[in-house]
Symmetry: none
Subunit: 198 residues, 4 copies
DNA sequence: CATGAATGAGGGTTCATTCAT
DNA sequence: TATGAATGAACCCTCATTCAT
């Protein structure tokens, strides 16, 4: 009552919306979307379930908002990619940047990878698929051999796998990141040259 | 009463357990584990929920039984792999056979890929992880460079991706299968030679 | 096939009905009637639930049959008591014999004491109440003071308590039995003399 | 909107928790714990089952809360008893007060008496047993004869029986209460003097 | 901004019971 | 004698959501 907070309820400066997103993403990534209840989120925040509804109209809107906030870099990457010439350098740069974008929103992508069935039914599903298709079309040469097309997709998947599956591979994280990137770039490079050499 | 059934209740010869598994897997793969209710499964089979409980003790046991039934070929593959010398040929053969095994239980693996968050919490989770680790240890040379290790994992992932993600890639399914296999084999081959050449 | 049993299924000479009763009583006394399911009984006997229904029409009939089989001595005791003169000796003898009867069917009475709410709703309820009333009327003098009437009921209750509550009192069981009996007899004796002395 | 409620939904001022407890205790005492479903309780209150779960986390918590709320006088009685000298007067006073405490929470104790099997499995079970043991230790002389120990327990049991079994004894309730108390006090008195006189 | 109280729909699970074989 | 398969009703419980305050 007057003056500074007493700490009982940690800083409530109106950042509640943000805090909800943080906790939600953490729990969604850890337990899955359906197994995470609003009650659980609310409890962690020491807030009522009803409070969540002040900030988000539905449970789905929480995940959608996360998706929209966190995946903009990828949107921009695609935008950028579309305007570039389809050279090898461009492709390699795309892979590099995509790797960074994934790392920048790791929990979200972990969530999306581990909850594909859920994501597909959510509103995000289609949007996300569109983006992936967009990316693909940039690095895939339409008249490349099937094998090379697969290589490109495999490159993207390697990046994804790099984030989550390879956590239990031993080695320095930074080294692993580099190794993953190298393999991915290798794949698009092979794919790019495939057309010309074979 | 003599002769064939009248069709109202299709053949109830004792294949109910099997039919439950079939329908369950279909729905689990399509909608996810948590979003598929036992009521839904029962309705599709024109049977009561309680009937499911005659054949399976819990919902989890249904998916576990599917896992155990359909995953044995992979178990055997690992067994076989362990007894082979770690030659390039062995590795390539592992990849080939793993591809086949995946194809042989496609719906289950699609389910597991798209419901990782769920699977992790289920009893299957650990078993599955162990198997993947087992496979990895066979095709990965322990003293290979990190990059080559990533290549091997990427090969396995490419096979997985091949099953599900690449469905919307245009082209003859059989051709796609071959292309996927080629890329995967390529990756382990590069990884294998990496140590010797680099 | 032919000759003696092999022991896998212990003696099944047609005593199944009896075995059901035994196991049922044990479980009913231990866990209560409602918390004991037919599945549980069947499993303990290594038999199907359906088999129970060959021997008993309903779950209730199992407990009813136990009641009828095991409480006959008390029925007879009442019969006997009714024909005796209402002397002190008779009353004392009733108490003594009732104590024995309780001991002879301890698990059943433990069950009835600990599941009164259930028993009341079962068909047994009334029968049992009738018997208790019968007993009471024998040892209670209709024109005794209220206090002496209470003494008589208290005597009966002391016997009941003696069976179950006093199990955790230390001391030799046989000694405890005697002590309980002594107190009960004391109570009816006081009650009997009350009328004459007060 | 201003003034009194319209009666459709009787006063919902926040006394719902209390109303749940009241109805629950009534039904539990009448039909037993397991045979009373939450649906039944909810219906009587003209409320949804889910509403019960807003106020109590589980069904068990309802009975536990009743136990904790209603049983405090006995807790205090024991506390008080422990601090008194072990004189005859103290023992008699304990019996008197215990009788009052029982009367003050008659429905709860009726429930506990008639659902012992259930209570034993509930969290309350042990707590209750501890209290009874506490009471016992106050009125029982450790070096009294077994017979006198039984007398003390019998006294307590007489009080219990007085509440429930003797309802169908004819006579004025108040007179019956007095008679029961007299017998109980008599028993502890005999027990107390037993050591000195016998 | 947020809570307290409640709802309706549905979840998985268990039960006593039935009946053809 | 007993089993295998199934049912219908009920169970406790949890969820996302609503709304007056």
């Amino acid at each position: 009552m007057g003056g500074t907070m007493d700490g009982t309820k940690q800083q409530r400066r109106g950042n509640t919306r943000q805090r909800i997103q943080d906790v939600a993403l953490e729990l969604f990534a850890e337990q899955g979307y359906e197994k995470t209840s609003l009650r659980e989120i609310a409890e962690r925040l020491d807030v009522t379930k009803a409070a969540l509804y002040y900030h988000f109209k539905t449970k789905e809107e929480i995940i959608v908002s996360l998706f929209e906030d966190l995946t903009q870099p990828i949107e921009e990457l695609i935008e950028w990619g579309r305007r570039q010439p389809h050279t090898l350098e461009t492709k390699q740069e795309i892979v590099r940047r995509y790797g960074q974008a994934l790392a920048g929103a790791a929990p979200l992508f972990r969530f999306m990878q581990e909850n594909q069935a859920t994501v597909r039914e959510l509103r995000i599903g289609d949007t996300f698929k569109d983006r992936m298709t967009g990316l693909r079309d940039i690095i895939i040469d339409p008249d490349a051999s099937l094998t090379d097309q697969v290589r490109c997709i495999s490159a993207l998947f390697t990046l994804h796998a790099g984030m989550f599956v390879m956590r239990d591979l031993e080695g320095d994280p930074e080294d692993k990141r580099k190794a993953v990137l190298e393999v991915a770039i290798d794949l698009v490079t092979q794919a790019h040259q495939g057309g010309r050499t074979a």
